[in-house]
């Protein structure tokens, strides 16, 4: 059986598709979006995270680190990331849980065991399992095995994806996926490549293919001020989505600087320092534009 790297299993998720769900976050992502709010999902390998608010400064991690990567500075253990191997020795001795390794290897059955714990909630709420990330398609074989196993277990499956993968993979996965939460980050090819690190066209191509295949798709659009909130871009979204066979429902996700906290936990610089969320009026205008074009549209996940 395949094994994969998972960085979180979140139970009782109510914003990741229909009903009450368990969301499995797979590690690794080919995109590198400036506004990414799951930066711990980008790196395909396990990574150390430290929550400053929990730390009591006991220094157990300093003593435990095998690589001399942790040292006390002003009562707080700072980690030299260049020397950290994410071995987890410091995590084992941390009394507060301030330190954690994000990313753990799972087999398919082990993962299914965790997912199935909430089966009764799925059944009552018409929920199920959602694979998210990172980018779940980044671990295609593992994802496929997981989806197959979930379908065999009679679970509703959803995939939260940015759609950047070979078309065959996407279509293969689609056979075991009941719902796609398809992120469409931008409509300007150049800007897309610049801000997300990959070309837009294969993503659109995959969305068209899913549409053709009559997959159930919810479009998710992050609204990033100064990037994709202008009228021309919104028009481009509407034009493209209107050109599909089906009018897929649209979810608008206004940017929020909440992700900043997560960068701090990984000792990463926050790329959008100081960027303000879009104004309520602008979000409403965008919502109205989609609505006028005949889309079912909702603000929020």
């Amino acid at each position: 059986m395949e094994r994969g790297i998972v960085f979180a299993i979140k139970r009782g998720a109510i914003h990741d598709g229909s009903g009450i769900r368990t969301t499995v976050f797979l590690k690794g992502c080919p995109l590198n979006c400036l506004w990414c709010h799951n930066p711990e999902g980008k790196d395909p390998n396990p990574v150390l995270s430290t929550v400053r608010q929990r730390c009591i400064g006991c220094g157990a991690c300093v003593a435990a680190c095998l690589n001399g990567a942790v040292s006390m500075r002003d009562g707080y253990p700072e980690t030299d990331r260049s020397r950290c191997t994410a071995c987890g020795t410091c995590v084992a001795v941390c009394p507060t849980g301030a330190r954690a390794i994000l990313g753990k290897e799972y087999g398919v059955n082990e993962l299914l065991f965790h997912i199935e714990r909430d089966r009764v909630f799925f059944e009552t709420s018409e929920g199920g399992v959602t694979f998210s990330g990172g980018e779940p398609l980044y671990q295609p074989d593992f994802l496929l095995s997981c989806l197959r196993a979930c379908k065999a277990a009679g679970l509703h499956t959803a995939l939260d994806t940015a759609g950047y993968a070979p078309k065959e993979t996407v279509l293969q996965v689609a056979q075991y996926t009941d719902l796609f939460l398809f992120d469409l980050k931008d409509m300007d090819p150049e800007r897309h490549r610049e801000n997300c690190g990959v070309p837009l066209e294969p993503i659109l191509e995959n969305l068209r293919a899913l549409d053709e295949a009559e997959a159930e798709v919810w479009i998710r659009i992050p609204l990033i001020p100064g990037v994709n909130c202008d009228e021309a871009t919104i028009d481009a979204y509407i034009r493209f989505l209107s050109g599909l066979k089906r009018r897929h429902p649209v979810f608008l996700l206004p940017y929020h600087p909440v992700g900043e906290e997560k960068y701090r936990r990984l000792d990463l610089p926050y790329p959008l320092q100081g960027l303000e969320p879009p104004s309520g009026e602008r979000v409403e205008e965008i919502r109205a534009a989609f609505s006028a074009a005949g889309f079912r549209v909702r603000v929020g996940g």
């Binding site: 109510i14 709010h37 507060t96 714990r117 906290e261």
Partner: protein
Amino acid sequence: MTERVRRLRERSLEATPTLSAERALIVTEFYKENLGKYPPPIMRALAFKELCERKAIYIGEDELIVGERGPGPKQVPTYPELCCHSLEDLEILDSREKTAYRVPEEVYEAYRREIIPFWRGRSLRDKIFDALPPKWHDCYEAGIFTEFMEQRAPGHTAGDGKLFHMGLLDFKEKIAASLARLDYERDPDAPRKRAELIAMDIAADALITYARRHAALARSLAERTPDPRRKRELLRIAEVCEWVPAHAPRDFWEALQAYWFYHLGVIMELNGWDAFNPGHLDQHLFPFYERDIREGRLTREGAKELLSCFWIKFNNQPAPPKVGVTAAESATYNDFVNINLGGLTPDGRDGSNEVSYLILEVADELHLLQPQLNVQVSRVTPDELLLAAARLIRKGYGYPSMFNADCVAEELLRQGKSIEDAREGGTSGCVETGAFGKEAYILSGYLNLPKILEITLNNGHDPRTGKIIGLETGDPRDFEGFEELFSAWERQLEHFVGIKIQGNAIVQGFYAEEMPAPFLSILIDDCIEKGKDYNAGGARYNTTYIQGVGIGTLTDSLSALKHHVFEWGTIPMGELLEALRADFRGREALRQVLLNRTPRYGNDDDRADELMQRAFVAFFRAVEGRPAPRGGTYHIDLLPTTVHIYFGQVTGATPDGRRAGTPLSEGISPVQGADRNGPTAVIRSAAKMDHAKTGGTLLNMKFSPMALEGEEGLRKFVALIRTYFRLGGHHVQFNVVSAEVLREAQERPEEHRGLLVRVAGYTDYFCDLSRELQEEIISRTEHELL
């Protein structure tokens, strides 16, 4: 809301809870003159009659439903025959910060001159405390258990459908028939029964008199009012009060007024716990509502206005004043009237109807402290009712609470009730299961489960009071394994339950012999048939509950001991005991390990949840099925009201990392902040308890308003409730997280570790966020809560 209702509501909100000496003076005067002349039931009935004939009658401006327990709204009587407050008690009541009662000078004066001199040494409380053995007092002072009936009468019951299709004259006929059946030659108890039945008959007449005094006052006010509309209303009030409660109500208005008189009768007679309760009010009212609407006598709006007037009446009756431990265990003005909506009909169909929705609307518009409201959710209950309830919960009112009607029926069936009686039953007070109209289900006191572990870890010794109150089960440092520890705790548990039960027999014996409740006895089957008082076992079913508290704290503590000390060997017992003794001073890292690296209840982690199940079974076995006073049986409940705070104050540091003096876990909820896997894991953990073997469990969950957004959010919320009930849970209530709670979480993060918030695109633990972000979320929450 109509203008009238708005004004009545304002007046109810503005009124200050104030002690009134009216009742105490009337009762004292009566007892002074008549002490020793009559057997206790007749004495009580005559005192009740005296009250009904002499107390001031109040009909407020704008009122449609009339009658107050005291001389006016929020004027609270006292019950010196049960608990005679000292002048110091009165001063405390008058000046304490929370749940204060204003005490006017004339009340002090009445107590000084009349009430204290007569009742000192004669009040039931004084006699009870004198009669209880020293070991009981030691445990009580140590905070092992509380005693519900040291200041308040048993009560703890609810009315059923008969109150809405019978009048007191019908009850009098039943009393007469029962009197006629007495066989003085063959039944040696016949004279006692006769006295009891005569007492009931006197009490029935007394309440009719009381109602007719309202009719008379309404007529005289009608004569004097210049306003023709108010004149018509007052004449209608007079007509209603002349008819009910003597006769069965004929319409919606009379049904409400009839119940209100019964309610007043019960709470004037004694200060029983949880006041009284109309039970399945929507089911009882619906036939009147339907007929009045059909016949054009009533509109939907008119029904709502009457219901609103009725609702406000409950809010006008703050709980009788409590002092000492009883005040600590139930620190609230709420007197726990808990109205049941939905549920099942006696023949097993969906009990919800249009009145259920009307009541939800009224509760929403009025937004009062009392009465409380709950929805009984059965498998046959439509989602529509749950959605309507969820819309209210989302506003952060804290009600309605949600109950599993199928589980409630299962509990009652397990206890031996007939299926019809079980379905007409429900829950009252906080979460207590009972066969409405047919059962005396008396809560006798809370039991401090974690404190018993503390005593076990100290070999029978209580570190706080310095006394040996438990068994000498051995020095825990010598225990060879977890099993030895657990069985020591079990033995201590049985020991303390035994002492509690001995005390209960004494306390309830006093009520049976000296403090009968003939009026309440009229209303509860089969007191009339048996010729036996409610307080003496006259009810068809008799239950005494002992309520376990702190099972979350206990479980996590057991888990810490089992895993760190015995299984992993990472913390030696001696070191842990020293850390507990020092309240973790200088041992913060150890405390953090206990808090963060112990399998804890509330996370769907079987390592912890199995310990919860074992502790539950031990508690169940220690209590369940033992013979109780009044010919009844003992059962268990798991609920705390506010006692988890008091019990926390008297309990030292616990092995789960809890500091000495801080609150215990509440109800069957996980320890504050221990649940870190979200709401489904909490529900799965809590559902591992065998709820059907209890008479009620209380689960409190917190929700961020963001989680309940939109119709979609509401449906998922309803699904969450349904799932808990599918899994066999008894009750769940929701606190929608307010900005206030978030601020508290900033101050005391450790109690709120599991608090999830969602901002944009993902959910995170509030306490793990930076201060700036926390501030941001607080301001959003303030904005979003209605």
